[in-house]
Symmetry: none
Subunit: 180 residues, 4 copies
DNA sequence: AATGAATGAGAGTTCATTCAT
DNA sequence: AATGAATGAACTCTCATTCAT
C-alpha cells in the first residue's frame, strides 16, 4: 500500500496545483479530488485542512525554484544566468498565482531560508552575488528588493495576464535598473 | 431622507473599502453592513450585487488616482512629478489591494481611457510624456509597461506588506531602470 | 384629500389585481406599488398586510361576479343564462387565478353568503333554480357541486392555460352532465 | 453507505412530497430536510435545485398514476374501470396538489407521452378507448378534455379540500356528461 | 397623507470537514 | 486505506414591513 499512497500523494499535489492555480483558492476540494481521481477523504488523510494542502504546494514550488536556481549557479555567464532565472520565473508565473506565494514566503519566512532543500533564498542569493561579482548587477542591490521585485512581477503577470511583449518590456525596465 | 441616504451611501462605500481591502473579496456583506452601521438591505438598495459594490470602489479609486495625476501634471519639475506620483501610488497601495485592480482595469479597459473623469491612463500618460520631454525618463519606455510596473509594485506591496525601506529600495531599482 | 385617497385606493386595487394575477402571490409589494404609481407606504396605509390586500381583491371579484349573475337573473331564457354565466366566468378566469379564490370563498364562507353586495352564492343560486325550473338543468344538482365545478374549471383553465377549443370541449362535457 | 444513501433518498422524497404538498412550493428546503431527518446538503446532493426536487416528485406521481391506469386496462368492465380510475385519482388528489401538476405535464409535454414508464397519457387513453368501445363513454369525447377535467377536479379537490360527498356529487355531474 | 429608504429575518445554495461503510 | 455521503454553518440576495422625512 506504500506505493499506492505515494502515487496518490503525487496525484493530489499535481491536481491541487492545477485546480487551485486555475480557479483560485476558492476552488472546492471536490474539484481537486475529482481531478486527482480520488475521494475527498483521501486528501484529508494527507492534509488536515485545505490551507495545509495549499501550503504544501507552495513549499513544492519553492523546492522547484530553488532547484532551478542551483542548476544555474554554475553557469559560465553569471549575469546572463541571473537575468535568465528572473525572466524564467516570471514567464512560468503568468498563469500561476502560486509562484508569487512561494516567493512571498521566501522573503518573509526565516525558517525557509535555513531549510536545506527549500532554500530558495540562498540559491537566488548565489546567483545574485555571482552576477554582482561579474559586474553585471549593481553592488548596492540586495536580496530583499530582488525578491520583492520578482514577486511583484509574478503577481502582476498573473493578475493582468501579461503577454510576452509586455513581460519583455516590463522586465527590460527592471533589468536596466539592476545593471550598473 | 435624502440626507440620510447620502450619508449612508458614503458610510457604505467607506466601510466596503475598508473591509474588502482588509479581508479580500470573500468578506461577507454582513461584515460590511455592520461596519457601516446599516442593514445589508441598505447596501443592496444601492448596489445590486457584491461585485457591483466592488466595482464602485475600484472606479472611485481610479477617479482619485486620476485626480492626483492631473494635479501633478502642471508641476515645475516633470521628472520629479512623475516619480513622485509613482511612489505615492505604491505607498498608498501598501494596505489596499484595490489600487491594483483600479490600475489593472486602466490597463485593460479601453472605455475607461475615454471616460473624462476616470481617465487615469491619460493622466498618467501626460506625466510620462512630460518627464520624457524633460529628459528624465527614457524615450523608449511606453505606457503599457508603466502601468504593468505600477500594478506590480502595488500588488506586491499589498501582498507582502512592504515597509518603507523595502518600498524605497525596490522603487529605486525601477526608477533607475526608467531613467536614461 | 378625500378624492386623492379614493383614486389611490382604486389604483392600488387595480394594480394589485393585475400584478398578483400575472406573477402570483409571490409578486413583491414594490411591483404593485410601482404599477400603481405610488409608494409602498401608501398601500400599507390602506391594507395592513399583503394578505389583506389579496383578500380585498378576492372580495372585489366576488362583487363583480355577483353583479354579473344578478344581471343575468332576469334573462328571458334561464337555461342559456345559467350556462352563459358559467362559461363566461371560466373564460375570464383563464389568465386570472383570483377568480378561483373568489369562488372558493363563496363555497366556504358562510358570512359571504349573507352579505348583500357580495352574495355571489345567492346570485348564482337564483340562476340555477331558474334554469332547473325551466327544465334545462337536472333537479338533483345542487349548489355545492355547481360551485365546486365552477372553481375546478377556473383553476384548471388558469393552471393549464386552456385555449378556446379546450375550454369549449371541457365545458361541453360538464354542461352535458348538468342537463336532464 | 449505499444502503444509507438509498434510505435517505427515500426519506427525502417522502418528506418533500409531504411538505411541498402541504405548504406549497414556497416551503423552505430546511423544513423538508428537517422532516426527512437529514441536513439540507443531503437533499442538494441528490437534487441540484428545489425545482428539480419538485419535478422528481411530479414524475414519480406520473409513474404511479400510469401504473394504476395500466393495471385497470385489463379489467372486465371497461366503463367501470375508466370511471373508477378517474374517481380514484381525484380521491387521492384531495390533499395533494402534486397530482394536478403531474397531470398538467401529461397534457402538455409531448415527450412524456413517449416515455415508456411514465406514459400516463397513453395509459389513460387505453382506458378511455376501451370504455368508448364498450359504449360507456361518448365517442366524441377526446383525450385533451379528459385530462383537462381530471386536472380540474384534482386542483379543486385540493384547493377546496373536497369531502367525500362533494367529490361524489361533482364527479356524478362529470360522469353523467361523459356517458352517452 | 404620501414617500421610499432602511431593516433584518429568512430564502436557496455551497462547501470544508467528518465519519460510517 | 479509501471512499463519498452527510452535515450544517455561512454565504449572497430578497422582500414584507416600518418609520423618518
Amino acid at each position: 500500500m506504500r506505493t499506492d499512497a505515494q502515487r496518490n500523494l503525487a496525484r493530489v499535489l499535481s491536481a491541487a496545483e492545477e485546480v487551485l492555480t486555475r480557479d483560485g483558492l476558492s476552488a472546492p476540494m471536490r474539484a481537486i479530488a475529482a481531478r486527482a481521481g480520488v475521494g475527498v477523504g483521501t486528501i484529508y488523510r494527507q492534509f488536515p485542512t485545505k490551507e495545509a494542502l495549499y501550503q504544501a504546494i507552495v513549499v513544492d514550488r519553492q523546492r522547484r525554484l530553488a532547484e532551478e536556481a542551483r542548476a544555474l549557479a554554475e553557469a559560465a555567464e553569471p549575469g546572463a544566468a541571473f537575468f535568465a532565472f528572473f525572466a524564467r520565473v516570471v514567464e512560468d508565473a503568468t498563469p500561476k498565482k502560486i509562484f508569487a506565494d512561494a516567493l512571498t514566503e521566501a522573503g518573509i519566512d526565516v525558517k525557509a531560508a535555513t531549510a536545506g532543500a527549500h532554500d530558495i533564498r540562498g540559491a537566488v542569493e548565489t546567483l545574485l552575488v555571482r552576477a554582482q561579482q561579474a559586474g553585471e548587477v549593481r553592488r548596492e542591490v540586495e536580496m530583499p528588493e530582488i525578491l520583492a521585485l520578482l514577486t511583484a512581477a509574478c503577481l502582476a503577470a498573473q493578475h493582468q495576464n501579461w503577454d510576452e511583449t509586455l513581460r519583455t518590456r516590463a522586465l527590460d525596465v527592471v533589468f536596466h535598473g539592476l545593471r550598473p
